[in-house]
C-alpha cells in the first residue's frame, strides 16, 4: 500500500529545504545543432566526458573541448533543442544506477527501465567509465564458466574472468551460443548481463522472451539499445552494462556479460566521431577505436581473493563480413581478448551446429580452469579432429582407403556428430563426461553413420531414466579411472545394443524405399 502520509512528509521536507536554495552553475549556449551533435559556446570549466544538461531536461555528453566551443552529443531531444538554448554543466560524468533490483529487468543505457514495470531502486551509482582493476588486484582464472555446449567446454574452455570473443558471419549462431551460456548459468550463482548494441528490436524481443520463458531472467539484466536509438546511446550501452557488472564483481560475485555486438558499437562510435569532425582512419574508424574496445574489455577480470574474488567474464560478439577476420574491428578485438570462438557459415549450412571451427578457435586461459575429468578425456580431442579433417580432404579425391584410414575417418565423423548440439539443449558436466568417454571408445563403431547425434541424446535420456546413480558417481574434479570408464561404457553398450536392433529395421526400410525411388528414376 502507498503510504500517503510519508509522501506528504517528504514533499514538505523538500519544499522547506528548497527555500533559499540558489544554484551556482556554469552554463553556455547552443551555437550549432545537427545530427544529434551540439556545439556550445561558453561552458569554460567543463571537463571531458562530463554530463551536460540542456534546457528542457535533455542530457548530453561533452566529447570535444575546443578553444572557444564545446562539442557534445545528445542522448535525447535531438529534434527539440534549439539554437541559443542554455546548456548547464553538472560536474559529473555519466553515472549508471546499480543494484540488485536490476536483475530480471530490461533497462536502457542510462539505467531507466523500459519494460513497463515499476521503477528500479538504485542502491548506488557507478560511473560508466571506470578504470580496470589494477594488476595487483587481479587473481588467477581458476574456475570454469560452463557454457553447456560440448564443443566449447571440451576444447575451448572458458574460465570465470576470461574474455572470449565469439566471431563469425551473420546467421552463424553467435547470439545462440551467448544465450545458451546465459541459460546454462541457472543455479550456478552467476549473474548475467546481456548488452544489446544496435540490435533489431524484433530479435531482441525474441531473446528476451526466450530468457523469460526459460527462467533465466531471475539472474539476468538486459541493457538494450536498439538500431533506432541514437548513436550516443548505442555507444554508451556496453559501458553502462559493464558498470552494472562491476557493482556485482566488487561485491565478490561472478558475472557474465555479453556484448552483442561490438562491430555495431564501433559503427556507432564512428558515426559520432565523423559528425564531431574527428579525423577518420582505416575503414573511416577514428584513431581511438582500438582504445574504445580495449578499455571496455580490460574491465572484465578475476579479482584476487583479498579483493573479494569476484569476476566478470566477457563474451563480446563481433560480426564479420564474408568470413573476413582480418578486417579492422575483428583483428582489434581478437588481439584484446583471451581467445575466440570462430563460427563459419559453411559449417552451419552443412548442419554442424554450433558451427564452431575447432581449428581457428582457441582459449588462452580457460584450460587451467577446466574440470579435471573433462581435461583428461578431451585432451586428445583437438588432435584427433585435426587429423580427421586432414584425411577428410584427401577422401574427396575418392582414392581407395586402407582399413586404418577408414577407421580414423569413421571415428572423426562420429566425433564431429557428437559435438553437434541442439539449441537450448545444454549438457551438464557429468553428461559431457559420459558423451566424451563413449564417443572416444570402440563402441562408436557399432553406431550407424549419421545417427550419432540422436544416439547421444537417447543415451542421456536412458541414463537419466535407468542409471541415475551412474551420473552421481562421476566426480568432475577427479580423473575418470578405468573402473568408472568401464561402467560408463557398459551402460552405453546396453543402450546401443538394444537400440541398434530397432534402428537397423528402420534403416532397412529406408534403404528399400530409396532403392525403389532410384529404380523409378532410372526408368
Amino acid at each position: 500500500m502507498v503510504d500517503v502520509k510519508a509522501i506528504g512528509k517528504t514533499i514538505v521536507e523538500k519544499v522547506q529545504s528548497a527555500n533559499g536554495y540558489s544554484d551556482e552553475r556554469t552554463c553556455g549556449r547552443i551555437i550549432y545543432s545537427g545530427d544529434g551533435i551540439i556545439h556550445i559556446s561558453g561552458l569554460s570549466d567543463v571537463k571531458y566526458n562530463e554530463l551536460l544538461e540542456v534546457q528542457g531536461g535533455y542530457k548530453a555528453l561533452a566529447l570535444n573541448l575546443e578553444m572557444d566551443s564545446v562539442g557534445a552529443v545528445l542522448f535525447s531531444g535531438e529534434d527539440k533543442v534549439r539554437f541559443g538554448d542554455l546548456v548547464y554543466s553538472t560536474g559529473k560524468t555519466v553515472q549508471m544506477p546499480v543494484g540488485e533490483g536490476f536483475l530480471g529487468r530490461i533497462v536502457d543505457p542510462l539505467g531507466e527501465p523500459i519494460d513497463g514495470l515499476s521503477d528500479i531502486e538504485a542502491e548506488d551509482y557507478r560511473p560508466v567509465e571506470f578504470p580496470a582493476p589494477a594488476i595487483m588486484d587481479r587473481g588467477k582464472v581458476n574456475k570454469p564458466l560452463q557454457t553447456g555446449i560440448l564443443a566449447i567446454d571440451s576444447m575451448i574452455p572458458i574460465g570465470r574472468g576470461q574474455r572470449e570473443l565469439i566471431i563469425g558471419d551473420r546467421q552463424t549462431g553467435k547470439t545462440a551460443i551467448a544465450i545458451d551460456t546465459i541459460l546454462n548459468q541457472k543455479g550456478e550463482n552467476v549473474i548475467c548481463i546481456y548488452v544489446s548494441i544496435g540490435q533489431k528490436a524484433s530479435s531482441l524481443a525474441k531473446i528476451i522472451t526466450t530468457l523469460r520463458n526459460r527462467g533465466a531472467m531471475e539472474y539476468t539484466c538486459v541493457v538494450c539499445s536498439t538500431a533506432d536509438d541514437d548513436a550516443p546511446l548505442q555507444y554508451l550501452a556496453p559501458y553502462s552494462g559493464c558498470a552494472l557488472a562491476e557493482y556485482f564483481m566488487y561485491r565478490g560475485k561472478d558475472v557474465l556479460i555479453v556484448y552483442d555486438d561490438l562491430s555495431k558499437h564501433a559503427v556507432a562510435y564512428r558515426t559520432m566521431s565523423l559528425l564531431l569532425k574527428r579525423p577518420a582512419g582505416r575503414e573511416a574508424y577514428p584513431g581511438d577505436v582500438f582504445y574504445l574496445h580495449s578499455r571496455l574489455l580490460e574491465r572484465a577480470a578475476k579479482l584476487s581473493p583479498e579483493k573479494g574474488g569476484g569476476s566478470i567474464t566477457a563474451l563480446p560478439i563481433v560480426e564479420t563480413l564474408a568470413g573476413d577476420i582480418s578486417a579492422y574491428i575483428p583483428t582489434n578485438v581478437i588481439s584484446i581478448t583471451d581467445g575466440q570462438i570462430y563460427l563459419e557459415s559453411e559449417l552451419f549450412n552443412s548442419g554442424v551446429r554450433p558451427a564452431v571451427n575447432v581449428g581457428l578457435s582457441v582459449s588462452r586461459v580457460g584450460g587451467s580452469a577446466q574440470r579435471a575429468a573433462i581435461r583428461q578425456i578431451s585432451g586428445q580431442l583437438r588432435v584427433n579432429l585435426a587429423q580427421y579433417r586432414e584425411l577428410a580432404i584427401f577422401m574427396q579425391f575418392g582414392s581407395d582407403l586402407d582399413a586404418e584410414t577408414q577407421k580414423t575417418l569413421n571415428r572423426g565423423a562420429k566425433m564431429t556428430d557428437t559435438l553437434k548440439q541442439r539449441q537450448y539443449l545444454n549438457y551438464s558436466v557429468r553428461e559431457m563426461i559420459v558423451l566424451l568417454t563413449v564417443s572416444q571408445s570402440d563402441l562408436v563403431d557399432k553406431i550407424p553413420e549419421k545417427k550419432m547425434t540422436a544416439y547421444n541424446e537417447g543415451l542421456l535420456d536412458y541414463i537419466h531414466a535407468n542409471h541415475a546413480d551412474l551420473l552421481e558417481k562421476i566426480d568432475p574434479d577427479k580423473k575418470v579411472d578405468e573402473e568408472l570408464r568401464a561402467e560408463i561404457l557398459n551402460v552405453a553398450e546396453d543402450y546401443v545394443n538394444c537400440s541398434v536392433g530397432e534402428d537397423s529395421h528402420q534403416a532397412d526400410a529406408e534403404a528399400e524405399a530409396e532403392s525403389v525411388e532410384n529404380a523409378s528414376d532410372v526408368k
Binding site: T10, I11, K14, Y21, D23, E24, R25, C27, G42, L86
Partner: protein, 75 residues
Amino acid sequence: MTNKNNITANVILARTPDAETEAMIEKFVQERGCGKVKYEIDKSIIGGVIIYIGDTVFDGSVRSRLDKIKSDVTA
C-alpha cells in the same frame, strides 16, 4: 573571461525590481567583479532572480526550485 569588469551581468526577474532589490542585485554583481547590469523581465520564472555573469549562472528562481522539488519527489 578573465576581466569581468567589462562584462555585463544579465539579470532576469519576474517583475520590475524596486530600489531595494536593485541595490542588492548590484552589490551582488559588483562583488563578482561586474560593472554593468542589464535587467530583463520574464514572467515564466514565477519569482526570484536569475543572474548570468559570463559563463556562470546563479539561479534563484522559483521556477527552478519547483523543478528541483519535482525531480526530487518523482525520482
